[in-house]
């Protein structure tokens, strides 16, 4: 049984499971399609939220990123988990009590304004499209790198799968496939992590290995890593070259951005009550934390192990017989380049150049570095082979990466399709539309969104900025959506004028700053207060919050009806319809 067999086995097996779930969980009404009938169990929803939230970037790239950034990588760990505390305490239970389908639903009703609803739709669509292109690209990479399928064909296969379960099942189908995808992901992530932790520290729990001594030595793993990287000219692992203010701002932008992301928020509409929404946020974070506390351990192990096995190893030429040559090198007292390195070199993710012609690879900081290509995704992908795990585990990692990308893509598709069918068609332009028609439009727009996302994914080579634009998604969610939602719940006096001013301020300022410093003037010296485009959403969040409050204070208070609505949202079990429009739109 070769690696190819196992990779196909897992990919076909998991895809088959997703399709089977989709056929079983078909949506019969808009209530099913948008919010899975409001009756998903909190723990199940927590698991689905975890899969929804953790994308190809979390699964494949994050550990590698931390391995290179060391302490600086902490911004992702704290930022992408701390946002769930904000969700649980400030948003999820109240939005659930509000009881509708989408984020623009809330913004439009709370601020009694079609304009506010439309701005929220624009924010939601913008955030979701920037995010989904990256997921589709991840699918393409996984297929082309491991299954020998062409990049675009890979994307089409991925699209076809998502198409089936998103279009047929809507949120209901997505919820249960996400649960399956979470299981695949977490298994594929933790099994190699346990083995590599055993190899480096002798402790099977990666989180404990992280704070243990190196196996057989009387020195802490992190201390050893610090010494080793410093000797090669790199920065100490537990330090960073980011400034404190930038660390603070990026962490903030990611946290508040996470809490403001529509595809995460709508997951909490699928449970039965505010109480269930709270517990569900807790479970979501538990399932996320399983991966997120493993990641920094994997990162440090992988960095240490990479240096240990690759640095000062003797290169074996591509056309040579690896086994014979390696034995010869060992016999001469040398260290052959590891076999997994040769395998990954062929995929183009790793590359070496023997600059000084000594036949030995020097891994260094600066010009003498001979490891010329070192893709950050390599650390998670190569872990199983580094740990000498059997082929079936390696194949599983590929399926895990695909699960991560597909589950996030599906959640985003829901936001896109409901924005069009519900917020634009039903609530704005064709208010007399029947439930059946709306469901049909929802399916059609989900289908259209899948195709559009696929086309964007296929063109990511031309649109080289995809990795860059993720900063937009978090920055915009933090600066434009988060403030109006929180103020809408916690400050009764917040009104239409304030909300529109706040969203526009956040949208325009964050977009301009990121665009300017990513594409026009890329010199960090000119950043405002030393804050990078990744972190600027945090600063502009406070600006848009202030603008919103000031404008609201100078304009009339919201109507009594809306103030009553806010009071109802705050207290579980007291939600009554307010106004004819509200009553007609309340899901049963």
């Amino acid at each position: 049984m070769g690696l190819d067999f196992w990779t196909y086995f897992w990919v076909v097996g998991t895809f088959g499971t997703y399709i089977a779930i989709a056929l079983w969980a078909r949506a019969g009404s808009t209530n099913d399609f948008y919010v899975a009938g409001h009756d998903v169990h909190p723990t199940v929803n927590g698991m689905a939220t975890a899969a929804d939230w953790m994308s190809a970037a979390s699964f494949l790239s994050m550990a590698g990123l931390i391995a290179f950034l060391g302490y600086g990588g902490s911004v992702y760990l704290m930022g992408w988990t701390g946002g769930f505390v904000l969700l649980a305490l400030l948003l999820a239970p109240f939005l659930r009590e509000f009881g509708k389908f989408t984020v623009p639903d809330f913004v439009g009703d709370r601020y009694y304004s079609t304009a506010a609803r439309l701005i929220a739709v624009i924010c939601a669509l913008f955030v979701s499209f920037t995010y989904i292109a990256g997921q589709m690209k991840g699918v393409g990479v996984a297929f082309s790198g491991f299954l020998g399928v062409e990049f675009n064909t890979g994307i089409m296969v991925g699209m076809a799968i998502v198409f089936v379960y998103a279009v047929l099942g809507g949120m209901k189908g997505i919820t249960y496939t996400q649960v399956a995808q979470y299981c695949v992901m977490i298994f594929a992530y933790t099994v190699p992590a346990i083995f590599i932790s055993l190899i480096i520290t002798g402790n099977p729990v990666p989180q404990l290995g992280f704070i243990s001594n190196v196996r057989g030595e009387d020195v802490a793993m992190l201390e050893k890593l610090n010494t080793v990287v410093q000797d090669l000219g790199f920065q100490e692992y537990t330090q960073t070259n980011k400034t404190m203010i930038d660390m603070f701002a990026i962490t903030g932008a990611l946290m508040f951005g996470t809490a403001g992301l529509p595809h995460v928020i709508i997951r909490f509409f699928t449970v039965s009550s505010p109480r269930a929404a709270r517990v569900s946020a807790g479970w979501a974070l538990v399932f996320i934390a399983l991966l997120y506390t493993t990641a920094p351990a994997v990162a440090s192990f992988a960095r240490l192990n990479f240096i240990d096995t690759v640095n000062e190893s003797t290169y074996v030429a591509d056309d040579a017989d690896y086994v014979a040559e390696a034995a010869e090198i060992v016999a001469e007292g040398g260290k052959p380049i590891p076999e997994w390195f040769k395998d990954w070199e062929r995929t183009g993710l790793l590359g070496v150049e023997d600059k000084n012609g000594d036949g030995v690879i020097q891994y260094r900081a600066g010009d003498e570095n001979e490891v010329t290509k070192l893709d950050r995704d390599i650390f998670v992908m190569a872990n199983p082979s580094i740990a000498n795990l059997p082929d079936w585990v390696i194949g599983l990692v590929v399926a895990g990466g695909l699960a991560a990308a597909l589950s996030t893509a599906a959640g985003l598709l829901m936001v896109i399709s409901s924005s069009i069918s519900h917020d634009l068609c039903r609530r704005t332009f064709f208010t007399s539309m029947s439930d059946k028609d709306e469901l049909r439009v929802a399916r059609a727009s989900a289908a259209g969104a899948v195709i559009l996302a696929g086309i964007m994914g296929m063109n990511t080579a031309k649109l080289g900025f995809v990795a860059q634009v993720v900063a937009f998604a978090f920055g915009l969610a933090a600066a434009s959506l988060f403030p109006v939602i929180v103020l809408g719940i916690f400050w009764k006096r917040m009104n239409r004028e304030g909300a529109i001013a706040s969203m526009l301020t956040g949208l325009v300022s964050t977009f301009s700053y990121i665009y300017y410093f990513k594409f026009v003037d890329t010199d960090p010296v000119n950043w405002w207060f030393g804050v990078s485009p990744e972190g600027i959403g945090f600063l502009f969040m406070f600006v848009s919050l202030t603008v919103g409050v000031v404008v609201a204070l100078f304009t009339p208070a919201p109507p009594q009806e809306v103030q009553d609505l806010v009071e109802d949202i705050r207290v579980p079990g007291t939600r009554r319809p307010h106004g004819a429009g509200d009553a007609a739109q309340m899901p049963s």
Partner: protein
């Protein structure tokens, strides 16, 4: 569900909720921005199993506290709901 609101002390309930939320957010801030970023150099004078404490909070510790925070919030909210007789 429409006969509840008059008997329930909605204002008192909401004040208690806001107080609880704010105090939990103080902890949320302290373990991440505080321990992991602002005061990490200070905390790095201590260590946990060979990892500098501030660094550990930034990469692992804060996440554990976040999980505990949310579940504590759930319990405290259930108690508040019971006390004020809402949400049943």
């Amino acid at each position: 569900m429409s006969q509840l609101p008059t008997e329930v002390d909605k204002k008192g309930y909401w004040r208690a909720v806001v107080r609880l939320t704010l105090s939990l957010l103080v902890i949320w801030f302290a373990v991440s921005y505080g321990a992991g970023i602002l005061f990490r150099d200070l905390l790095d004078n201590f260590s946990i199993g060979g990892a500098p404490l501030g660094f550990w909070f930034a990469q692992n510790g804060a996440i554990y506290v976040f999980v505990v925070l949310i579940f504590y919030y759930c319990r405290a909210m259930n108690r508040l709901e019971k006390k004020y007789g809402v949400g049943v």
